[in-house]
């Protein structure tokens, strides 16, 4: 079976490659950049025209270059114990290793500012060490918990976010965003333009609404029209540049190409028999794994979180306070993907929408923030009639990954279905 990649995928990758190349030149030429965690308000940096490098993306790049083994072994040599989270710390270890020539791009220069949210306990520690190593100031966002969480959060997140995320939490986040804005104004010499920011936030909502269309089309298509390994870059590269002209244009191009594929009856697997969802972040050091069961079992991954989360996790009614709407987008961004009751209820809803038969669930035992809630999710999915296969591995650490063994394990489970 020959799978034809989307043109949009090539375009997204090409754009990102050029952007990264330009960024590298800009950074090495002395341009300021921010190193930020994925669940921080990137929008503020974009609005202030300060380029960002995202921690988890950089971590995935290091893993994709098959460098995680070296760095994680180095972490142990440095005295960090072997059970600490890896996804969020791999870039820090590469920095502390002190040999930029080994890193992708020849390493990152010192950022002008670091930014993280205290959602997961290790974030403030990892970023604090990075700050000590580079001298870059650290801006931390608090992450108070949500009392009495609403299980069907996505029903409320767009319009009723004030109640869903709680007024006191949003007040605090807006306060902390204003502090960050003041820092960025001082660093860049620019003034934060509130009117322009409102337009920018509307553009992001527009972009995410396009992704929602794509999500609906793929969910309802008779057979999966594209691989999740293509869904991910076509969503995440524009998300990186969210609200920009290019991102909106690309989202539309992606939607149109997917629509054409569906109309033409194109399928990843002509003989699609099993529809699967990949739960968790990517398996960045072995993304080919996503295609491993197409020929043998007619089993296709139709779902990964990145596309459907574009709508549920990002679209927020803006009203007359764009900063507050941004706080509503960010203040529980990561938690909704990993913690009960949000994750289990959302996964069941998604599995139903996508007519999923089997869920492969990545359980990273040493990245506990991402692993919490896995068993509640398993229970909920199984109650909904979906077979769940746990993949005990890590997003970036391939040291314990035995591809052959894992493929055999999954195949055995799929044998019982097909």
């Amino acid at each position: 079976m020959t799978y034809t990649p989307l043109n949009a995928t090539k375009a997204a990758m090409s754009f990102q490659r050029d952007w990264v190349s330009q960024l590298r030149d800009d950074i090495t030429g002395g341009k300021k950049f921010a190193f930020v965690n994925a669940d921080t308000p990137h929008e503020l940096f974009h609005a202030m025209d300060m380029p960002i490098v995202t921690n988890q993306w950089w971590s995935a790049v290091i893993a994709a270059k098959q460098l995680s083994e070296h760095y994680l072994d180095r972490a142990t040599e440095m005295g960090f114990h072997a059970h600490l989270p890896r996804y969020s710390s791999l870039p820090l270890i590469a920095e502390l290793d002190g040999d930029p020539s080994r890193q992708p791009w020849g390493g990152l220069p010192a950022p002008s500012i670091l930014c993280a949210r205290q959602s997961s306990d290790e974030h403030q520690k990892v970023f604090s060490l990075w700050s000590e190593a580079t001298g870059a100031p650290l801006h931390l966002f608090s992450a108070p918990g949500v009392p009495d969480p609403a299980p069907r959060w996505w029903d409320l997140a767009r319009d009723q976010w004030e109640d869903l995320y709680h007024t006191d939490r949003l007040d605090l986040m807006v306060q902390e965003m204003n502090t960050l804005i003041a820092k960025l104004e001082e660093m860049t010499g620019r003034q934060f333009d509130h009117a322009q920011f409102a337009q920018y936030m509307h553009a992001i909502n527009e972009q995410e609404a396009i992704f929602e269309d794509v999500d609906r089309m793929i969910a309802q298509a008779p057979r999966a029209p594209l691989r999740i390994s293509e869904q991910i870059p076509n969503v995440m590269v524009p998300q990186w540049h969210r609200g920009s002209d290019w991102a909106l244009q690309h989202a539309s191009t992606f939607r149109d190409e997917v629509a054409t594929r569906i109309a033409d009856g194109h399928a990843v697997c002509e003989n699609e028999r099993i529809r699967m969802m990949w739960i968790g972040a990517g398996l960045w050091f072995d993304t080919d794994f996503y295609t491993a069961f197409e020929d043998s079992h007619g089993a296709v991954f139709v779902w990964s979180m990145y596309l459907p989360f574009a709508a549920d996790g990002y679209i927020r009614t803006i009203g007359d306070d764009p900063l507050r709407a941004l706080a509503a987008r960010i203040s529980l961004m990561n938690e909704q993907l990993h913690q009960p009751p949000w994750v289990n209820e959302w996964l069941v809803e998604q599995a139903r929408r996508y007519r999923v038969d089997v869920a492969l669930m990545l359980v990273p035992r040493h990245d506990r923030f991402s692993g919490y809630g896995s068993r509640f999710a398993r229970r909920a999915l199984e109650a909904a009639g979906i077979k769940v296969i746990e993949i005990w591995s890590d997003m970036v650490d391939r040291r314990d990954w035995n591809r052959e063994q894992m493929q055999a394990h999954v195949a055995e489970a799929l044998d019982g279905i097909s």
Binding site: H81, L84, L129, P147, T179
Partner: protein, 369 residues
């Protein structure tokens, strides 16, 4: 009251911690809650993460199968007790968000209840104190919400003043106990038990018992090398006794010791209590984040340790980030750093034997035995 009877009361209270009658009691899960505020409001805090192992229950497979193997030991044990109805009768359970385990305990407890796997009582309350100076207005709102949730009025100024005075007495008595430990006059195992014993007592009672019992507190057996202890929470006095066979623990910074009680303010107002709690460097989530490790290093240096013992839970994802930095700084101070690796919070006899053997061998190699 004689020193002997005071010591017996403290020892008994340690053995019976977190058990007993629940009338007008509020459960606390995690470190960092400003308990004097609750006491001033007429309620007694009871630490639901400190139950002895003999109090453990199995709430069944429905609960077990939803708790991943990497969930904290204390959370797992609490959830089983909670689901089995062990805490019915408490007015509420408060979960301290900035404790590294408590948010998960709160979320899982709520979920078990939602799924019908746990009883509907008691009320579960998330205590969202943010450990950062800029968050005082937010923290003040959390306190107002707490009184609303508990359906009680905020404590009066006079009640706050009275509780504050009692808690100052407790702080003074604990400081004297620590000083005795630093001078080798009280064993760390005794200090551990007597401190934990007071978590269910009001400040004045605890202070009176400590002040009375201290003169006849058991001295550490071995003497010799001065040891510090850092790392994850240790729940069992047996660990201390194992360490004490090889030296004198003069500085104990494990979270159950270092993080309770939370610091007291200079004045007895609710705002001052909140500010003092929010600036507690014993909280690993404090802002700025390096404040926690810096405070650990200061205290170890002040205690003039010869060696510092580090032990961590296998699922630690916080303290381990500070370990290389602490080890480096101690090396600069010519203080030995002995990393025992992963240690269970309730180590069994073979594990304790292994810990003792490893520590003894390490100290001998360094010429400190």
């Amino acid at each position: 009251m004689t020193p002997q009877s005071a010591a017996e009361i403290l020892d008994s209270a340690y053995a019976a911690r977190a058990t007993g009658a629940f009338a007008d009691m509020v459960g606390i899960f995690g470190e960092g809650f400003p308990e004097p505020l609750l006491r001033a409001a007429g309620l007694g805090p009871i630490c639901v993460h400190l139950n002895p192992a003999t109090d453990d229950v199995d709430a069944g497979q429905g609960v077990s199968e939803c708790i991943e193997p990497f969930v904290d030991h204390a959370v797992r044990r609490f959830l089983h007790r909670f689901a089995a109805g062990r805490y019915q009768g408490l007015k509420a359970i408060i979960f301290c968000r900035d404790d590294t385990a408590a948010l998960v305990a709160y979320q899982y407890a709520l979920e078990f209840r939602r799924l019908g796997l746990a009883p509907a009582e008691p009320q579960l309350i998330l205590w969202n104190l943010v450990h950062a100076a800029h968050a005082h207005d937010f923290n003040r709102q959390q306190l107002d919400k707490l009184w609303q949730a508990l359906d009680i009025p905020a404590p009066s100024e006079s009640a706050l003043a009275e509780t504050w005075a009692d808690e100052c007495a407790r702080m003074d008595a604990l400081a004297a106990l620590d000083a005795d430990m630093g001078q080798g006059a009280v064993g760390a195992s005794t200090a551990f038990m007597w401190r934990i014993a007071g978590r269910g007592m009001d400040g004045r009672q605890h202070a009176d018992l400590l002040n009375c019992a201290r003169p006849m507190a058991p001295r550490p057996a071995s003497g010799g090398v001065r040891l510090g202890v850092i790392g994850s929470a240790i729940e069992d006095v047996a660990f201390y006794r194992t360490i004490e066979a090889h030296g004198t623990i003069v500085c104990d910074l494990q979270p159950m010791i270092a993080a309770w009680p939370v610091p007291l303010p200079p004045q007895p107002t609710a705002d001052a209590f909140l500010r003092a709690a929010a600036s507690d460097v014993a909280c690993p989530r404090i802002v700025p984040p390096n404040a926690h490790a810096d405070a650990v290093l200061r205290r170890l240096a002040d205690a003039q340790c010869d060696a510092v013992i580090c032990q961590l839970h296998a699922h630690d994802d916080v303290i381990g980030w500070d370990v290389p930095k602490i080890a480096d700084h101690l090396r600069d101070l010519d203080i030995a750093f002995i990393n025992l690796g992963f240690v269970d919070p309730l180590p069994d006899t073979p594990a304790l034997y292994a810990i003792g053997a490893a520590l003894g061998a390490d100290l001998k190699t360094r010429g400190l035995a």
